[in-house]
């Protein structure tokens, strides 16, 4: 007896706005977070408010990101950017392969990751040597290179900024900057 009126009486849903009128499809619909095999606590990557996020993943793929209700900063809320951050991971516009543009070329070409890092290491050392300075114009020691520069750091991690500053300073580079300057 699946007549609505019977369902209404049986489930004590007297106003007919609850279980009595739930369709089979609705009953079988589950939150997509149920399918996750892992969930980790994270932080939103956009502005510096630092809202809490929960990242749901299945089979090593992010399937959902939502606000973390435990965060005393955000109490589970996310703004449009934070709420869209799943697309930072899975958007079709994301470029996940190394690309190389040769001098005077009109387009990109493919390059292996390993080869790209080798080429960058070679170029860095060459630029470092070519623009090396032992002393300034007054003969004071500077022990540095002016051959390469770096820009950016506010969107990556503290640990990553630390390694960049450490490595580049050891290489003698001083032209290291990030978004805090603008």
């Amino acid at each position: 007896m699946e007549w609505p009126v019977f369902r209404q009486l049986r489930s004590r849903d007297s106003s007919g706005r609850g279980a009595a009128v739930t369709s089979k499809k609705t009953r079988e619909t589950t939150p997509r977070t149920d399918a996750a095999d892992t969930v980790v606590q994270s932080i939103c990557p956009y502005c510096a408010v630092g809202c809490g996020q929960k990242i749901y993943a299945k089979d090593n793929r992010v399937i959902h990101i939502e606000g973390d209700p435990d965060s005393p900063i955000s109490r589970g809320r996310l703004c449009p950017k934070g709420a869209a951050s799943e697309q930072l991971v899975n958007s079709v516009g994301r470029q996940t392969k190394v690309l190389y543009r040769a001098p005077r070329a009109r387009d990109w070409e493919a390059l292996s990751l390993d080869r790209a890092i080798d080429m960058i290491a070679d170029r860095l050392l060459e630029a470092r040597k070519k623009h090396w300075e032992d002393t300034d114009q007054h003969g004071k020691p500077v022990r540095r290179t002016m051959g390469f520069a770096s820009l950016g750091g506010a969107t990556i991690d503290n640990e990553e900024n630390y390694l960049i500053k450490k490595l580049f300073s050891a290489a003698g580079a001083v032209q290291i900057e990030n978004q805090a300057r603008i």
């Binding site: 960058i120 630029a127 002016m146 950016g152 969107t155 503290n158």
Partner: protein
């Protein structure tokens, strides 16, 4: 705030529900204005007049928090007899050098007690005078000692309080109306609101973002607010303060652990050639052992950093490898680096999650600079405009560049995102929050940790046999981090190095618990002293996640804040001089006489057993010299600075100057613009004439730039996402109905906005959200431009970049560009394409008669060379 930091704004809403008054001061009406008690529009760039008038109001109405100001600020301190004010010198301070725009700051010094030299005078034991502004670390500028003369009655005409009063006496409501375009009624409402909500029972907070910082005197905007907040007793107290709302997830962290040219981790300055040639010179310059506070231990922080980087190679007999650090010769900021690119002096450039082709001022200089590089490495998620300018940038369209002529090699290296790596972000209130890794990165995508670790390994392999002394810093670098099966270094191992550890002794290898554990003898290592404690007891404190609902409002067990998990800085000031809370309602940290300790709702920001009535010898130096009523423990005299005897290069008190491009004459002084601003007088960076100079009528309107909720900065993380691109699909300009009518702009049609640098087009949004103002008797129209769009072909949505319109003039203290107030022309319709665009820009330049000198005069008051000061005084 509701627009750019929407989730943070929920706390403003909470406060409002409990009776707080919310006032929004901004040239445009935003989502904040919509829910504020009042929106007060002002002319972009006039903020010091408004804040200075609030200071004047507080002083002339006797509304300052007397006990707080007397005890906790330098109001009573006597300043040198040689000091002269802009009131005397037509807009300049004493000590100005017209040759290079710098100040000799010796006349701004504290008068010293006894026969000592002026505190901080050159030639005194330690001074910062010779140092460049970017050379001051976390402790700010040093003073040689803290033995100063005070007049507790505040009547001495040379005490800070009287100097302040005089300095701001012409910053009146009438001046605000004339200069900012704010009515007397709005000003009265603001002044009454701020003062009625300050004192023992109540506090007022200011929040700001780049609307205050991006000016040719942005640092002074913040200083003006600091003076006001000190006078009202709103610093170091719950619900008070000046709150920077920063724009990137770890822009705070990348300042603390800096990828910045002028800093080492923990705000230690980068050494400068000629001043810091040896470790001793470096340490003696950045601090004096005789000043007060925790900055005197900079030697332990520096040596621990050197030990963290160079391990066993950093020994006492080689000054802990101090010589391995490269040295600065002046400023090497991002805009100076672009100039070097344009002179073919730079070979390679790494872009790490930053998009200067869209996000930096004068975008053409940025892109033309990159076209002169030998190689460029772009690490990002998508093909941002800084990766593709060589094939689809604006200069390709205009014909200024041709792909087949550009020699630059470009490497696009895909980056792992925040879900694909573990690590920490430091949010805008210094809270360091750990993220756990959810998944591994796809294809070639790598974290920066992985990429830079690998790059370092390969560089070191190539140099392994080198005997060159220049390569020792790379070869001796500590670079062995444990990695996982994918080669990814363990982020927590890097965090442990940042925290620091014992190098020798019974606790060898164990993490340090606080920066007080750091030693200058090489027995400790630590990569960033202010972060010490984040890995105390081998626990990642940043990963603590006790739910907020199970904690009080301080939530001290959620993540970790530097320093020492302290949530509110200078919180000793939340108690009165005797150590009692100012009121029950505003109770936060107080002195427990029974336990003889400071206690409360937060980690006390003070020596925990220093009694309120303690009065140590000020010459003792260091934390021991702090009196029980010296709450500002990182300042060299323990006091909040109403007058800054050191540290600001363009004046000890903020003074209003007009932006480098302005529609009016400076109504306060003969000096028009900040005479110490950093200028770039170049053909590719021409400026519009200001005020009533010939040619100023060609660029008669003010434009300002800003952000929207649905996009993020230069769009690299938002314009490539379909959801966000759909929410804000198109570049637009906001104009008032009056302005649209005046020049014939059609709603939802097109406008072309032209500056001396470039011309862009935008959809026209006619709205009362933008206000036309009457300034100095004439109507001034302001054009609002969001800066998220850029020209390329890879993003879901593209559009002209507002930053292309901006010229470069930098704040001399922090080298940040003015982006918030500049001059433009506006015409209905779309901009021309191809070379016609260049002709349009050139036509206007020609009509205005622009040269590289236009707008670039440092001094606009006659100079009396024999007296070494300006002539006359503005009546």
């Amino acid at each position: 705030m509701a627009e750019c930091h929407p989730v943070g704004f929920q706390w403003v809403t909470e406060a409002k529900q409990r009776g707080a008054r919310v006032i929004h001061v901004d040239p445009r009406f935003t989502r904040t204005s919509a829910v504020a008690d009042r929106h007060i529009p002002l002319r972009a760039g006039s903020d010091i007049v408004l804040l200075g008038a609030l200071i004047n109001y507080v002083l002339t109405h006797g509304l300052w928090f007397k006990e707080y100001v007397r005890a906790y600020t330098n109001a009573a301190t006597i300043i040198s007899e040689d000091y002269q004010d802009p009131e005397d010198l037509n807009g300049l301070f004493s000590g100005y050098n017209p040759e290079d725009g710098s100040y000799d700051k010796s006349s701004w010094s504290y008068q010293a007690a006894g026969n000592k030299k002026k505190v901080g005078e050159p030639g005194a034991e330690s001074e910062g005078d010779a140092a460049e502004p970017h050379e001051f670390g976390a402790g700010g500028p040093p003073l040689s000692h803290s033995n100063v003369i005070r007049d507790e009655s505040l009547q001495d005409p040379r005490c800070v309080f009287q100097l302040l009063k005089r300095h701001y006496e012409r910053y009146t409501p009438e001046m605000v109306e004339r200069t900012c375009g704010i009515s007397a009624d709005d000003f009265a409402y603001l002044a009454e609101s701020v003062t009625q909500n300050s004192g023992r029972e109540r506090t007022t907070a200011f929040t700001y973002a780049v609307g205050w910082t991006q000016h040719a005197q942005g640092a002074q905007f913040i200083r003006t607010a600091a003076i006001l907040q000190l006078l009202l007793g709103n610093m170091g107290r719950p619900g008070g303060g000046i709150i920077a709302l920063r724009g990137h997830a770890t822009i705070q962290g990348s300042t603390d652990i800096p990828t910045l040219f002028n800093l080492l981790p923990g705000y230690l300055p980068m050494p400068e050639a000629g001043q810091h040639d040896t470790l001793d010179e470096y340490l003696d310059t950045i601090r004096s052992k005789k000043q007060k506070g925790f900055w005197t231990n900079a030697d332990a922080y520096t040596v621990s950093l050197l030990k963290a980087w160079w391990g066993d190679a950093a020994k006492k007999d080689n000054n802990f490898a101090y010589d391995y650090l490269p040295k600065l010769t002046g400023a090497h900021g991002t805009y100076q680096t672009v100039e070097r690119m344009l002179r073919d002096e730079l070979d390679g450039y790494f872009l790490i999650g930053q998009n200067p082709a869209v996000g930096s001022a004068n975008g053409k200089m940025q892109r033309m600079g990159m076209s002169r590089l030998k190689w460029l490495v772009v690490r990002d998620f998508s093909l941002i405009e800084s990766a593709t300018w060589w094939k689809d940038g604006p200069e390709i369209e205009s014909g200024e560049l041709r792909s087949e002529d550009i020699e630059t090699e470009v490497f696009f290296m895909p980056a792992a995102n925040h879900t694909e790596k573990a690590g920490s972000f430091t949010q805008t209130q210094r809270l360091v929050q750990w993220r756990h890794q959810a998944v591994t990165p796809p294809d070639d995508a790598q974290s920066e940790l992985h990429f830079f670790h690998e790059l370092g390994k390969r560089i070191r392999e190539r140099l392994a046999d080198s005997q060159d002394w220049r390569d020792r810093p790379l070869l001796d670098l500590t670079w062995d981090y444990p990695t996982d099966e994918h080669g990814e270094p363990e982020a927590e191992a890097v965090l442990a190095e940042i925290n620091g550890f014992h190098v020798t002794g019974p606790d060898k290898g164990e993490p340090l618990s606080t920066f007080n554990d750091m030693r200058s003898d090489g027995s400790t290592a630590g990569g960033c002293w202010i972060y010490t404690g984040i890995y105390a007891e081998r626990v990642n404190q940043a990963a603590r996640r006790k739910p907020g609902q199970e904690q009080d409002e301080t939530a001290a067990e959620w993540a970790w804040a530097w320093p020492a998990n302290r949530r509110l800085l200078y919180n000793r000031a939340s108690a009165d001089p005797q150590g009692r809370p100012w009121s029950e309602r505003k109770k936060y940290v107080w002195w427990d006489a029974e336990q003889q300790r400071w206690t409360g709702k937060d980690v006390p920001d003070f020596p925990v057993d220093r009694a309120p009535d303690a009065r140590p010898d000020p010459d003792a130096g260091g934390p021991e010299a702090l009196a029980g009523d010296d709450p500002f423990i990182m300042q060299a005299d323990g006091k909040g600075w109403l007058f800054a005897p050191h540290g600001m290069v363009d004046g000890p008190m903020p003074t209003h100057y007009e932006p480098p491009e302005s529609p009016i004459d400076n109504p306060l002084y003969g000096q028009q613009s900040n005479p110490s601003r950093i200028r770039f007088p170049r053909e590719d960076n021409l400026l519009a004439p200001s005020a009533l100079q010939p040619g100023s009528e060609i660029y008669p309107h003010v434009f300002t730039t800003y952000r929207l909720t649905e996009h993020h900065t230069a769009g690299g993380m938002s314009r490539f996402l379909p959801y966000l691109a759909e929410l804000q699909p198109e570049m637009f300009c906001e104009v008032s109905p009056e302005f649209a009518e005046e020049i014939g702009l059609e709603a939802y049609g097109w406008a072309t906005i032209i500056s001396p640098r470039s011309a862009i087009e935008a959809r026209v949004f006619v709205t009362e959200r933008m206000t036309s103002l009457t300034i100095a008797g004439r109507r001034v129209h302001q054009v609002g431009l969001p800066y998220h769009w850029g020209v390329g072909s890879e993003a879901v949505v593209e559009g002209d970049a507002a930053n292309d319109l901006l010229g470069l003039s930098l704040d001399p203290n922090v080298h940040i560009q003015g982006s918030k107030a500049a001059q433009c022309a506006v015409r209905p319709g779309r901009r021309p394409r191809g070379p016609d665009l260049l002709r349009l820009v050139e036509d206007l330049r020609h009509q205005a008669g622009l040269t590289v000198e236009t707008g670039n005069a440092r001094l606009t008051v006659p100079w009396n060379a024999s007296e070494g000061q300006p002539k006359g005084k503005k009546s």
